[in-house]
Symmetry: C2
Subunit: 302 residues, 2 copies
């Protein structure tokens, strides 16, 4: 094996595995649909062994995994680490898996928790992406956005995650898209993004006081033939992203960092640009760089 670290991004619906060099760059990467929901009870060691066997790891080989694999429904619970938190906190709260297959050293990255007004918030997997983004961009401060089913807005200061907030943006989009009255006039497939309709939706959501009100405009614009059916999914997507942006105090200065699938980060970049806010986009490399950087902070095995 020519790598330094075996890194696993093990989420709810997918498992991606990479062999990394000492600097966190990727030697080889593969992935599949064996997310934690697809693993039978007691099946984690076998799925893990199969995922890494191509690299014939020696006993003691360091492996680090992030994501829902550390949740109560995962392999081994890595309890949430409270904010503010940096690399050192993540390293100290790694959940080591005893008796990992082949005698490797497998550590699971803890999720983070934060509290606002007595209400807790949690994330798991995004913390390592943010840490990777800090390393990739050589930054120690800023606002980091991880769009998705449950979007995360993460505030970093002096290299530590200070706090964050979750928005159920992707999930509410899917609910409105598929199960609400709006579904009646929407075409069956989303089609390519219509930038104009997307930005129109984003602007309406920001001008409106609440998504509960703004969302009904997708219905009435269709009713009055003021929005072609093909443009409606983009408009609805704009409503959701615009609502998420409406609720933020957007920073002046350094670009907002968007981390995630390109199809999503492109939309957020577009909506931010319309507000005059610059952004920087990152993809999967953030996870690998984060796990690689975390590995370098660990002491050698005893």
């Amino acid at each position: 094996m020519t790598g330094n670290l075996i890194a696993l991004d093990w989420g709810t619906s997918s498992l991606r595995v990479a062999l990394l060099r000492a600097d966190g760059t990727v030697v080889e990467e593969h992935g599949g649909s064996q997310g934690i929901l697809a693993v039978a009870p007691g099946g984690f060691p076998a799925v893990f062994a199969q995922a890494i066997e191509r690299w014939r790891p020696a006993p003691g080989q360091l492996c680090l995994a992030s994501g829902m694999v550390g949740s109560r429904q995962g392999w081994r619970e890595a309890p949430y680490c409270p904010c503010p938190a940096g690399f050192d906190d993540l390293a100290r709260h790694l959940a080591w898996v005893p008796d990992a297959p082949g005698g490797v050293r497998l550590g699971i990255v803890p999720g983070l928790s934060s509290t606002r007004g007595g209400v807790p918030d949690v994330m798991r997997g995004e913390e390592i992406q943010v840490m990777g983004a800090l390393a990739l961009l050589d930054r120690r401060d800023g606002v980091f956005v991880l769009p998705g089913t449950h979007s995360k807005w993460v505030r970093v200061a002096a290299g530590r995650i200070v706090d964050f907030a979750t928005f159920m943006t992707g999930e509410v989009y899917a609910l409105l898209r598929k199960h609400s009255i709006l579904a009646r006039t929407l075409p069956p497939e989303d089609g390519p993004l219509d930038d104009e309709a997307f930005l129109r939706g984003a602007a309406h959501a920001r001008a409106s006081g609440s998504l509960l009100q703004a969302a009904f405009s997708a219905r009435t614009l269709a009713l009055f033939d003021a929005l072609p059916p093909a443009a409606q999914p983009s408009y609805l997507s704009g409503l959701l992203v615009g609502e998420e942006l409406r609720a933020q105090q957007l920073p002046a200065g350094a670009p907002v960092v968007l981390i995630g699938a390109e199809a999503l980060t492109t939309r957020y970049a577009l909506a931010l640009q319309a507000l005059g806010v610059p952004s920087h986009r990152l993809g999967a490399e953030a996870t690998w760089r984060g796990l690689g950087a975390l590995a370098r902070t660990l002491p050698p095995p005893p």
Copy 2:
């Protein structure tokens, strides 16, 4: 027949019919599930004839119907009447059904439209409830709220509906309740309202910037065992109602008028009371009083 007007409240999923005295009070009332979605194509005359036959109406008998029966999917479209609108506008825009069964005079009340920032809004059925509330309470001004699948906030000045806004509150509650990640920890049935959990949810939604964020608290509070499962439906309901209230400029002075099913208006009254805003609750009588008052403004038949 001993009444003056046959009134029909004909919505999407139900049909209610009443025989009214000249002053708008009810002689007799009945109803069922024959909403417009349950009427086969071409079936409106027969359903209507059966609904009113018990009163053996003479030819020329005045009948007034409000609700979705006047929509494009209903019996006969009564095009939206633009705001501001009062009794006189509704009367002038009645859609008279030609050749109604038994030679009765059947008029369908138009819905209302309003426009805000270039985006249209519509309602159908609620306009007559608001008009009825004005008659019942002897008011000519105020804020009227009609909670439901699509809640309406209606502003009245000098006896006319000036404008209104729709909130998809009930529908989004049902989507989150049944189809979102929150459903995983919620009990199968809602159970009786837990006032404390409801008000806690309402307060959190008002303090939060967006329902997209506030809704996730139902997940995290459950995750941290900080909200018992039995209280979660009430908490979620509070989040939705609180979000709707957050987006309002609540009036000082005269009570907000809540019109609708008691189970809903009670919740809104509770959330408003927590904000120091008095409210007055009305039920089905608003529709009958509105149709009765509308009938009195009509000229005698030619």
